[in-house]
Symmetry: C2
Subunit: 197 residues, 2 copies
């Protein structure tokens, strides 16, 4: 199946909305990037707002699939080395994937202007990742790698510092290396405190 114009519009809309915000995005530039005339956009969407809503529909579907089902949880690591390796791997992906970067930026800059973005932002930045790591820690407690305690609280003390450094990478890509060093150090620190020896 080919990539339809309708989909291409959404992909490019993500780029522009993420970089300039809803208000700052204009349909002439969007059309130009797709090598289309502005009026062609209206063959596929009714209005700028319609494009926006279609993009949010797509994002909501993605998040429902990613955070909604328990099927695609990461496997419980067998050791703290494996945990650290899995962690850093997931972080590296999330920090470098262009589409995910744009999504984070979009959620960040539009979270106060749109109710659906607001909900998605909380899911992405707060609940989603924390819930996933709560499951991971739960599994590690059962394997005896972690002392039994509240896995949700543990996850909440783990993910926000990582998240803060991911935000730093988005904001100041120049400081990428520094951010990764700090992430590694933090994970080490976390392990040193919580690992069952």
């Amino acid at each position: 199946m080919e990539r339809t114009t309708k989909d291409r519009i959404l992909d490019e809309a993500l780029v522009m909305f993420a970089e300039h915000g809803y208000k700052g995005t204009n349909l002439r530039d969007l059309a130009a990037r797709l090598e289309l005339s502005k009026s062609a956009l209206y063959k596929h969407y009714e209005s700028k707002e319609d494009i926006w809503n279609a993009l949010l529909d797509k994002m909501e579907a993605y998040y429902a699939q990613r955070f909604g089902s328990m099927d695609n949880l990461p496997p419980t690591p067998d050791s703290w080395e494996a945990f650290q390796q899995m962690m850093m791997g997931m972080i590296r992906f999330t920090v470098h994937d262009p589409q995910i970067i744009l999504t984070r930026k979009l959620l960040t800059i539009e979270q106060f202007h749109d109710a659906r973005v607001c909900k998605l932002a909380t899911k992405h930045f707060l609940e989603g990742t924390a819930n996933i790591y709560a499951k991971v820690f739960e599994g590690m407690m059962e394997k005896g790698l972690l002392k039994k305690s509240d896995p949700a609280m543990l996850a909440f003390s783990f993910t926000p510092p990582i998240s803060a450094l991911i935000h730093l990478c988005d904001r100041e890509p120049d400081r990428h290396d520094e951010a990764f060093e700090r992430m590694e150090a933090f994970v080490q620190h976390f392990i040193a405190i919580h690992a069952v020896k």
Copy 2:
């Protein structure tokens, strides 16, 4: 000394820029809120961008004073009860003060569009608070309330979860109470792990 029109413009500009972003703010509404005509604005500032820069100047001065000098550090608490009380007091202030809320929102939604905002955002969300708490923890280590270790790392494992919940309050004010309960619980958890018995 009375509040000059020039200052009133900046105050109202903060409100509008924080709520609608730079691009989303228009000078007609800004003037209307001040019960001025649009052209009156130009008696005090050369352009919209000039207002924006003046606002950033003011914010930079504020942050230089707040995070730059070591004079206005919070006092080292004498006990963990005192620590928790001071903490929650500072958080309550920062979450409820209208000007600080607007500042956070402005930094959040414009961090990718303006280099100065970018720097301020990192200062506000990452380094500023962490540095302050590093000093606090350093003091508490010397008082024997905390085991001696790297105070910067400890601060970095403490402030981001709090910060994430402050962001939640900004984004979803309805969930204010829930956010505060989680903050209290996190502080308790932090104390339980790190306090020297």
